[in-house]
Amino acid sequence: MRKLILLGVLVIMFFETYSQDTLKQYLLPLPPGRVIDLSISYDGTHLAMTVVKQDSFFIYEYLRNKQGEWFDTRKVYSSIFKLQGPTFSPDNDRIYFSFSTSEGYDIAYVDRTMNGWTEPRFLDTTINSKVDEFSPQVDPTGKILYFSRDEGNNGACMHLFYSVWEHGHWAKAKRIVQPVNLGCETFPRMEVDGQKLFFISKREKYKSYDIYYTKKITQDIYTVPQRLSFSHPRFDEVSPTYDPVLKELIFVRREKRHDVLYAVKLGAQFLPSPVNILRGEVVDNATGRPIVAIVSLLNTITNSPITQFVTNTGHYQLIIPPGQNYTLKVTARGYSTKFYDWNTRKAVGNNIDNVDFKLFSEINLQLNIYDKRLYDNLNAQIDVFDSLKQKKLNNIQIKHLSKGKYLVKLPIGGFYSFHLSKDNYRPYAFGLDLRVPILYENFEKDIELNPRLERVVLKVVDASSQRGVTTEVDVVSKTTGAHYKAKVKTDANGNVVLFLKKGDVYEISITPKGYTFYSQELNLESDSTPPKQIVANVKPLKKNMSMQFHNITFELNSADLKEEAYPVLDQLVKFLKQNPNIKVEISAHTDDLGSKQYNMKLSLRRANSVVEYLKEHGISPDRMVAIGYGESRPLVPNDSDEHRAMNRRVEFKILEIK
């Protein structure tokens, strides 16, 4: 009885070990020719296949539809030379394969671009040696390349090698440790988690190539490889590849008369561990078109790049096992940069995230230009230069938004210098380096321009004694309406130093107590030569002193004042308020047109109009006497229009100083 039980156990174990798991044929629309080998991408969306037909070799690519079916067969590359073992890079935009040349089989690759696939390029001599290399595959991180190499056995026996991507190139390839390499090994095929490795091997008692499975613990440590039970003892199995959608292992069995594609469901222990997949497109924000971008995965601690690749088609895909956080940096030449924090800690099953990045190629820089003293907005001339080429850029778009505000559009990637200039202001320059990673699109910069100042000394002197007069000075820019300062006063010698902005026209008014008032326009415009010193002679008020005004004007044949007279009258108000101890005679004079009686009446009415105005502005009527002199006191003969205009006037005469 015991024997029976033991035998039974042994038989069960035998069957478990040796029974052919359920194999089925793997169906997909085949191109004409004979299938040599195939592989499916890590995400299960692409399939690459080598086919030979009439002595020509072809690599085809399949895409998968939403129903999981393979369709849309496209030729990737063809050659009269042998091609073998195509596999996809993790982002599916590169196919590695072995290419027979005059020097034997070497590993090459083609890249997908927006215009199709490139011509093959060979890996360098750290990979491609004098002997043959076959069946390349990069792992899901893109940093380890697996392949097989014939170590001088003329292809009779190969071993598995690997190389690490370091410092921008593949390091010298190393042999994978035993017991992985134990017999003759080829077709290394890593699963999406970067740990489980399928390969074919002919070792020990088996006469054919069978499929083996091992698990990578570290680069130097693997579990003891396990021969998969469905491997046929007599026929070679080649090209094992895992289909993550169907969760099946696909392989080619070279049977007696033909090669057959098989698929077998794998047990749980062979399935890959969950991974995180991040994929998407990098597009131009303005056009929506995909762009060639550089995608880098950064170590979140040191910010050093772990891996970096170029998206020739704008499409990217990254496959990372869970457990760490990463930072993704996406940029393109002449475009902005985007960072994306990729949290892979929380992955339970396969996590697939679709994240598209829109990059922009220009920034908007708003310049706000101010007068440094007044904070007033200023328009200015803006020139933009290429700092490196020292050349003015005429094609930069500068939009004038409003006074002192400009919007400049600048292409990313340049190093610019700005020169701002404005008449009567010191020029201003600054640099802007857009070669740095740009995250934002809109910027604003305030620029304060320093006005060029003219130093003017104002000296107020008593016209009689020539002594300095202490008084307040009112300086107003007629150009801007701004007062120079709230209060400016001359010193005991009558001097005051003014620093006035070049380019403006100023009105300097002085109303010293006990003196006539003084007013002068000071032109500091660019084309004028301003005086360095202004001497304002003010006459001390004396009885019978007279001041004439030609700009106190009236409507025709009327005593109604014109609005243009108001500023002068306001000045007179100020003068009379400043000197409350004086009494004045206000007289109006006419030319000789019209009758004497008429002119007399008109001038009296006009004088009264002036008195009314001053009265309404707070001057006591007791201080004023209105007189009309008509045509009786001409300054000059009324023999021309010019002279008549001179005679038409209003006069102020000091009658009394208390």
Binding site: Q219, V436, P437, H483, Y598, K601
Partner: protein
Amino acid sequence: MKKIRFIILFSLLFLSVYPVSAQRLRYKDIYQVITSGDNVLAYSLLLEYQKSNPGYANTYFQLGLISFNNILNADPFLEYDKIKYFAYNVRLYWGLAEKYIQNDKSEVTRNRKYFQNVPELAKIKRISQEDVLGYISTRLNKVNDYVKELDKIYSLFYKMVSDYTRTVDHYRHIIADYAKLKDLYLSPTDEIFPRLDTIRILFDSTMNMYQLYRAAIESYPLKKYNQHLLLKPITLYRLEGVTNTDFLNDTIVFWNYGLWVKDVKDVILGSIMNMRTNIAIHYNSMMALERKFLKTKVYSDKYLGYFLPSPVIYQIEKYDINSIMTNLLEYNKIKTDFLAYRLHVYNDTTDSLTKLIVRANSYAHEDMLLTQMDSMLRVISELNVPENTRKYEGFFHTNFPHGLAPYIAKERVQNLNMHKKDFEHFKYFLYRDVFHYSFDSSYVVYNNDTIKLFISTGQPSKYVTMDVGKDPLNNLFVAGVENSGHKWKIFVCKLTNTTVQWLKTMPINKDFTVPQIKLYPYTDGVVIDVYETSSQAQGNNTFYRFDQIGEQGFTFRSNVRSVPRFIYYDDINNFLIAAYKGNDREEPYSADTLIIEKWDINKKQKIWRYNFVHTGQFVNVLRYDSVYYAFVNYTKFVGTNGKAFRSGANDVGVIRITESGKIMPFRPLEKTKYFYLIYTIKLSSQKFDVLGFQASPFDFKHEKFGQLPPLKSIIINKF
């Protein structure tokens, strides 16, 4: 036997499933692998050999050696854990090597050749136990030193990385929260300063860690790393400082966040604080002035509004364009102007000296200020959103604890009420001086008879007042008809301070009646226009002039048979303008012909006369630089060129005629749609004021002051 068979069979079975290399490991082969340099293979072979030969000292020596080399080759920052792991292994393996060498004195001599794969031992001809132990000891010390120093360096390095990364993160959060630097400047300091200080502290710590790290690697250089720092300033907000640095690069680039924080704080504590101080100073000063003006009861023209310097506004606008604060300050500045202006004498109802034109100008100015204030309040209301007010949180919290909305509503009402009250003052003078309405039924007694100082109807008195007016010197003239027994005469008198200076009478033509008299007082006297009609449909207008002492001047007659509605006498040029319409004493809204004429008094000659097809009412005439502007209400007007103007309810239009009589195109006043004009005032050589009601002339009669709708004033630039 059975057992053995079972065991053999079982083992064979498993052997077939799990083929294992049956090859026996020989140490010399392993040593070959060691010397070939394939440390990875050698390590796994040594581990395998050790299992079956646990006492073999060289195994441990070689394992320790491989571990030692792994430590030296490992990246101190990226493979720190590996270094620690192999450091442990080195101590373990070489500890065991030492033990087994010390236990067996001949161990080394017996296996001399296997200790020669290190240069220091290879050059010794006959390696002894002491040589090997000495080698192990020095190498162990080296490992211990290395690990100890590396621990320190590693800790400093990663603290520096951590602090800088946190600095960058905090900075990024700030630039994400504040799109513009100006918004940051204006945010409340208790909100932003802690965040800035956090950045500064972290950055200072980073710099400190960097210094310590540099000192550490200078005292204990690492093979792979000798980074130097490059500090770069942040010159443009959001352009620079947004990215972290690669700490493994030879040059570590740090953005100078410390300097940036300092610069930002300098601006906030400098320019912004200065701006806020200025705001507070000026606002409080304006409030104090407003309060003072509201309390003041004394009228004077000396009051002036607050002087708000332009740089204060510009300073705010530099940081906050279209700011709620600038609008609030400017509103209050205008309000002080308004309050100051209201205290001017024109608004004093006890003042009788100020001329109507001055009052009209003043009221127009007040009206303009009110419009400005209202407009500003509207803008403030629109800008009253949290993103604007939080920039001045402290200010609004202090001055508007209940928010701005109630303040705005209250201000609107208050301003309007003040203005309405002032307009009532103006209306009082307007009706008194222009329409001669009496507010107190005033009259004077003359020769025991009363003369009413307002337009009256009926005949309870000897004197029936038909028109009243003041000259520029405030003398009052009254004209009307006198009932002397059964005979009627025309009278005109002058009053100074309610005392009749003189009274003159003129006869009325036999069988004629006098439906209307119009007078025009001027500086040197008065002109009156007497309209007489007879039952035989005869009529004429006779003009008389009297000077200030009552002496009669010119007299002449116009044969216009219509009631005079307005006369204007230019005593300087001695011209007279008169407008007539209809035959009713009170001017109805009628289709009667409107007649306007001009007379040269010197020549007693009519210069021009125009008859207009006009449905409406005549108002008055203003003179601007030799052009007469005649204002009319109309629903229909036909110019002399035949062009007709019509309106729905009522519109206001202007007939313009030059001194010489040239008619300029009739001009409807667009601003006065559906407006009933009652008077116009010449404000200056460039402006006039139209006064009237936003109502239809058919809706009311304006005899009773108290029942009038609101009077409206519109300032129009002369065209």
